[in-house]
């Protein structure tokens, strides 16, 4: 077993060796520009790109013609949101999104707000979910776009995408979903779910970093976008720039593998996730799972450990690569805005750790992590004044803290 153990698969994933194999020839042998229409090198590259389009499309039940390549999900989200807003601004200026979205959705929305758009940011319930009814109530005759992520990156909660998509269809409003965490992990079907625009990225599904795609629906309705990058008119004019052929081939292969193995893999990942979650939570009283208990990504477990600070705990389990919702720095004492949106108290938000199980996680690694986390949380609780006070029956909320 190699240390440190990688358990941060919601952040990024190891590239599958099968993906690397597919990419390599495009660096040194098949290095043509996919836009070169007049020689064999170009044709070869173009063929690889078209194959990748189809591999991606197959995974989400789209057509290859509806796939636009970008540098990753941040660009896909920006292109979708700003592109729709600018193209449809005559129709309306209202956008609906959710407070727990990734910054790559929230920040473009904020920028649009400064440019005169109206943005409604919906709250979530204590599991981190938004409902189609909430969206229905927020809609006005000026609404042009709804953007709701399929699965949350921090807490793994799945939103009811299908009912939101259906609502948007009824109302004639475009529906964008940031499906970065969901694609390749759970079934995503743009037809069945009524999705008009969908962002995905390779590095969350065992592909390379720096390549992503945006699905843009071509009919019923045909979605139009204002390009954010002008130039050679690549990608139906929506995203100019020479295509990253090796990366695109890698993304295509990553999607093909996911498509073929998702059903089996998600079962295995789920089983390991549950083993980890139960193993830790059964042994540690006052540990809490953040997010939805069932409607969540198979590989995600976000757990708060009362009386222990997340960053302090991460240092204790340095042999495990994880993330914390804590932000113990002098610049910002604010813990995760996602956890806060769920109504998780600040002190528990500071105590959270995100575990992400993935394709390459082993049973042995899970056992090791369970033992280590239990040991360290207990050690740090023995060192924690909050734990001591709680043991003594003092209500921590009644204490007059010296905020700083």
């Amino acid at each position: 077993m190699k240390l440190p153990i990688y358990m941060d698969n919601n952040s990024t994933t190891r590239v599958d060796p099968r993906v690397v194999d597919v990419m390599l020839p495009f660096f040194t042998e098949k290095y043509g520009n996919a836009a070169s229409r007049n020689h064999a090198y170009g044709w070869e590259a173009e063929e690889a790109v078209e194959e990748a389009r189809n591999q991606i499309a197959d995974l989400i039940n789209a057509s290859g013609k509806e796939i636009i390549f970008t540098s990753g999900a941040t660009e896909s989200n920006n292109l979708a949101i700003k592109g729709v807003a600018q193209m449809y601004k005559k129709k309306g200026n209202h956008i609906i999104t959710v407070v727990t979205e990734h910054k790559a959705v929230l920040d473009p929305c904020k920028r649009l707000e400064r440019e005169g758009f109206q943005v409604t940011v919906l709250d979530v319930d204590s599991y981190g979910r938004v409902s189609a009814d909430q969206i229905r109530e927020a809609m006005t005759d000026k609404t042009i776009l709804v953007s709701v992520m399929a699965a949350n990156n921090e807490i793994g909660t799945l939103h009811p995408i299908k009912s939101i998509g259906k609502l948007c269809k009824e109302k004639g409003v475009l529906f964008h979903t940031d499906a970065v965490q969901a694609v390749g992990k759970i079934p995503v079907d743009v037809e069945d779910m009524g999705i008009d625009l969908l962002s995905l990225t390779a590095h969350k599904i065992y592909g390379p970093k720096g390549i992503g795609a945006l699905y843009v629906r071509k009919k019923d309705p045909r979605v139009r976008l204002e390009a954010q990058m002008d130039g050679g008119g690549h990608e139906r004019g929506m995203r100019s720039g020479t295509l990253a052929v090796p990366s695109i081939a890698g993304l295509g292969m990553a999607c093909q593998i996911a498509n073929k193995e998702m059903a089996e893999e998600s079962k295995r990942v789920f089983r390991l996730r549950e083993k980890l979650r139960k193993g830790i939570m059964d042994k540690l009283p006052e540990s809490f799972l953040n997010g939805h208990p069932e409607e969540r990504l198979p590989g995600n477990a976000n757990i708060s450990f009362a009386y222990v600070e997340g960053e302090g705990l991460m240092m204790g389990i340095k042999d495990v690569a994880v993330s914390s919702g804590s932000a113990c720095t002098s610049a910002s004492l604010e813990p995760s805005y996602v956890l806060k949106a769920l109504g998780v108290g600040d002190e528990l938000a500071h105590s959270s750790i995100r575990f992400g199980i993935g394709r390459f996680t082993t049973e042995e690694e899970v056992d090791y992590v369970v033992n280590l986390v239990v040991k360290e949380v207990n050690r740090l609780r023995e060192m924690s004044p909050l734990f001591e006070m709680a043991q003594a029956g003092i209500d921590l909320k009644s204490v007059q803290w010296s905020a700083h």
Binding site: E309, G312, C328, S330, H350, S384, E388, A403, H404
Partner: protein, 138 residues
Amino acid sequence: MPYSAQILEHYNNPRNVGSLSQTDPNVGTGLVGAPECGDVMKLQIKVNPATGVIEDAKFKTFGCGSAIASSSLATEWLKGKTVDQALSIRNTEIVEELALPPVKVHCSVLAEDAIKAAIKNFQEKQTNVEASELVAAK
């Protein structure tokens, strides 16, 4: 964030973890920080009332590794010092000793505050003791 060897050493082998009796008139307790800010430090000193020397110091800290290391170091420095000497400990000395990164300077400030709060608590208790002794003498 890369941590210095000094921080790691104190984090892995914290000195003087524990609690002293809060009812002891010779013990001063400082509790600073807040759970919602992500760090709470409890620092205690036991002072010899005759000599004014800190004979024991204990801490408990909820916080990041730098907060734990800062309080651990503070207890080490407090032992053997007089109350007046303890009052002159500055957070910048803790920053230097532990090589705290700039974003963690806050932890050293908290440790300095905890020292001051513990001393203040001890002095208040002593004043009360003297007052009650005076009353008893009369």
